[in-house]
Symmetry: C2
Subunit: 319 residues, 2 copies
């Protein structure tokens, strides 16, 4: 779930007077998302989402995220739009946290991704990449390849509590990934977290993308690798190559991958797997008992990583 | 939070075809409530709440709860209304759980109750008691006085882990409560859990009551005692007698308390405190690490119980 910060009704009422979005009708915490506190907010003018940015989001990055979302919308990407208050500012403070109201997106995220979801996801990711091309500001990817070694070090002392031998396996895997990491793939703004709970569907069509708070400037093909990890494994951690093919075909129908991007897919997938593995591992070891968060099992990404390490080339993914 | 059961989009889509409430627009888990899984459901016909009943709710009781909610509405109480499917049934099965769709209530629950909330809460509670009078079916209160001794026994072995001496204090308190428990106060259907998160306000007016899944047939004045515990203590566990007076005056403006009910308030308050103390204690000792539930500190009710044990008579509550 994700409601870390409680907003009192008085504080909320005062906050809403800063906006011209009608009067309050309802306000409920949303049990989705992991990083921030999200509330569904209904006013006499319609439905909105109120987000309070929690500790993992650097406030200095918020204008970049909100700017990207606004930019993408002008290029036809359906994503939440920051709502400006009467003074023109979308980014504000509520209950001691940075906060923003965004528009409400219709749709339901697929709890069990099927092949038919994967093509549209690939297409939407490619459209997102093209749409971001003329958003000039850049944001370094703190959770990109340069960040993985320091992240692994933070779990070194206790990684083997999760599984004996874990640290040795990760050391080897990460050394190999960084040695093989491609240096000159096409860059752009990536979503970097396009998991099923961030993609809405309605009437079997993709209806919108949400949660841009991991977005950054990085290799576009790395974003494809994130999606292959997020959408194409079955619950037994087998890789469904039909899903992989659908996702890649959907992507290439909008933005063809270069030969270098294709060849790099196995190492990009290893990198994407270790990125989620490392944050999950850290959270697993450092989430206090009773915290309002579902700890996600890092072993799920060890299983994915092993698949990628065994992949001979890009054909393993359905290309 | 409260989303224990995930509903797949396919299962939800199939479920909705059983209803005549339009087409799906959105579906999000709600981070509120403790006992059941709640989703906010938006269709082309409007907003609804989908509840999946989890293990603490006995399926045999569900028709009684839904029937009470429907009955109360016919008597002017604003509360969620069960939505019947095309076959006339409101109670159904989804994702292996009993489930019902209810109407959406506008309003926001007060995160920090103030004196001005307490009068309307008292009035609404009394109106609920009167409105329930001609709902014939009865439901025994499993968490009423008869249930407290067995509940305490379930925590006996480990209660002192929470605080040394806890078990001895509770043994004495419960023995005294049961010895003093009034036998012949007016009975009726009580909400039994009218905490601030179950009372909505809009424009400073009480706009509705929710969550009737602890409702039962018991002493009406015991329900008042639950509210005194829930609404009138400050965050430092001091009792705010101005709030108590407002709540009781609000109640009595609609349904005057008898002399016997007034005289029983201290023991009823001790009983209400130990009831929430005992379930919190059990949950505290038995909630697995990483569960999607906020464990509530049982010590908060030890503090309330101590206040009630020191109360000389009903005047301690503002009467």
């Amino acid at each position: 779930m994700a409601v870390y910060t409680e907003v009192t009704d008085e504080a909320l009422a005062a906050f809403l007077t800063e906006y011209a979005i009608g009067d309050m009708v309802a306000f409920r915490g949303i049990a989705e998302g992991v990083e921030n506190s999200n509330y569904s907010l209904k006013t006499t003018a319609g439905d909105f989402i109120l987000t309070l940015y929690e500790k993992r989001v650097d406030p200095a990055d918020l204008p970049w995220f909100l700017g990207l979302m606004a930019h993408l919308a002008t290029r036809g990407i359906v994503c939440p739009q920051p709502v400006r208050a009467r003074d023109g500012e979308a980014l504000r403070v509520l209950a001691g946290k940075h906060a923003a109201i965004t528009t409400f997106l219709p749709g339901v995220w697929p709890r069990r991704p099927r092949v038919e979801h994967c093509g549209p996801v690939g297409g939407a990711l490619a459209a997102l990449h093209l749409a971001g091309a003329d958003y000039a500001p850049r944001r370094a990817n703190a959770l990109g390849a340069h960040g993985w070694r320091p992240l692994l070090e933070r779990s070194r002392a206790r990684a083997d509590e999760v599984q004996p031998g874990m640290m040795a396996e990760l050391d080897t895997a990460l050394t190999d990934i960084l040695a093989d990491w491609p240096a000159d793939l096409p860059l752009g703004h990536i979503h970097a977290d396009l998991f099923p709970d961030n993609v809405f569907f309605l009437d079997r069509k993709l209806s919108g993308l949400i949660d841009f708070y991991f977005a950054a400037t990085d290799s576009l093909a790395y974003d494809v690798a994130v999606c292959l990890n997020a959408w194409c494994f079955e619950t037994d951690f087998s890789f469904n190559v039909t899903k992989g093919r659908a996702l890649l075909s959907g992507y290439e129908a909008v933005r063809p991958l270069s030969a270098a991007e294709k060849a790099a897919l196995p190492v990009l997938c290893r990198g994407a797997a270790i990125r989620f593995l490392l944050t999950r591992l850290y959270d697993w070891l450092n989430t206090p008992d009773g915290a309002l968060v579902t700890r996600k099992d890092p072993m799920e990404y060890v299983r994915r990583l092993r698949f990628h390490r065994a992949a001979r080339d890009e054909h393993a993914y359905g290309l």
